[in-house]
Symmetry: C2
Subunit: 244 residues, 2 copies
DNA sequence: TTGTAAGGTCAACCGCGTTGGCATAAGGAT
DNA sequence: ATCCTTATGCCAACGCGGTTGACCTTACAA
């Protein structure tokens, strides 16, 4: 058992496993994403990941201190993928909106992985890059440092919190997911108007809206809130505001 | 092993366990909350809960179909506790704000339980009661059914998503929590201004704000968004708006 | 008073993360 | 080319997890 994990950039010897695979941190993370997709959130086990890699489970401890550490590496990978498919330059509001949606959908593209990682701070490089980008947009929009941090905090936590929540239902086994979605059309729609007048009156709207994410709605109200914040620097470029 | 779980209200025989305890769904849920607080999110195991109740682990399967079902019952309990400590009647904006904060703090009062349950829909009675209350406030404020449902969805998902996120860090072992919080004062504060100018410039604000929840900030922007929605009914009582 | 089955217990199954010991081959030094 | 070191892989085992099937035992209905 390793006394310490060797950092990826210091690795020299790449001994193939008995079954011929040459391991690396990137290969393990990538394989973990595949295993998560195929076997679900609880299906990422050291034994199964080892088998998928053609390696002994204990070998993973040469690369990560434990399954927890591996999970954080997976989270960092999702952050990086979001940032890769994103470009700035169309004004603070459009940039912030597109970054939020990119993060949200990067996580939802791997729901089982998102459930496992979205609530944890990895502190790794690509996560820090995302933080830097958000603060840059807000400060570039002319907000004071205090306001920039206040809204950075709101923005990133909102995005990750919704990523985790929305991923939660997507990550359910197909059958359970349909059951949950149907609940709005069955259980809730059948509550008697006498005891639950408001649910009864809106059952149709509920069934139509609840299976989708509320993230875009809340994100827009947050952007409205940012737009209403007085700027302290002259370069404020006002985005499309709710009250033009 | 039971073929089927007998619903709580149909139970007749209350045989005490070998160690004298008389079981019930309520006692089990209450004990689960205690075990969660004492042993953490991963510490709620059938064996440990059985021991805390003075019963065999397999006895739990007479009351719940599995640990998953038990978790949903715990979540329903947290919903109920929030609703118990809440009263309406001070206008839609104050009512919605206080209900959101009540839910948020009810979950944060049991962080280990919140992590386990906040992302799951229980479909049980007290959760439905919360849904009915929210829809009632919004429709009572004069919103159209469509708008009421849109903002109900945003409100409940926002609240639960933040409850889960914020509970996540509170539920960490004391040492890990301090490490996470200190990260803003150590790792982030030490990033060179050359590569991360925006983080470097705001390090002080970050260290001060990040350990707290962003929920109140986002909630207010959502309430602003609701206030800006045109009412279709005459009884709209405008709350304190951002633009008076 | 008696029969039934609800609600307990017991023992066992298999999978989990993790660890200590060991084998081997990669790659720098000579 | 050869040797030596040690990184990196494998193996076996530990304790704990959820869950199950078979089996008692006793509260209640008839």
């Amino acid at each position: 058992m390793p006394k310490k994990v060797v950092p990826e950039e210091a690795r020299r010897r790449r001994r193939p496993t008995r079954q011929g695979a040459v391991l690396s941190e990137a290969l393990i993370v990538e394989t973990a994403l595949r295993v998560l997709r195929e076997h679900g959130t609880a299906g990422l086990t050291a034994r199964r990941l080892g088998a998928a890699l053609g390696a002994d489970p204990s070998t993973l401890y040469r690369y990560f201190t434990g399954m927890d550490d591996l999970a954080r590496a997976v989270g960092n990978e999702l952050m990086g993928r979001a940032l890769d498919g994103w470009t700035a330059g169309r004004g603070w509001r459009a940039d912030l909106r597109s970054l939020g949606l990119a993060l949200h959908s990067s996580y939802l593209a791997h729901p089982q992985a998102a459930v496992l990682t979205a609530s944890r701070v990895s502190g790794r490089a690509r996560e820090i890059a995302v933080d830097e980008a958000i603060l840059g947009i807000l400060r570039g929009a002319g907000l004071s440092d205090e306001a920039a941090v206040r809204f950075y905090h709101a923005f990133i936590d909102l995005t990750l919190a919704f990523a985790a929540l929305d991923a939660g239902s997507l990550a359910l086994p197909e059958e359970a997911r349909r059951t949950d979605e149907d609940m709005w059309a069955s259980t809730y729609a059948r509550l008697p108007a006498a005891s639950h007048p408001n649910i009864a009156a809106t059952a149709g709207h509920l069934a139509a809206r609840m299976p989708h994410s509320a993230y875009p709605v809340v994100l827009e109200t947050l952007l409205d809130g940012i737009a209403a914040e007085p700027a302290t620097a002259p370069q404020l470029r006002p985005g499309r505001s709710r009250r033009p």
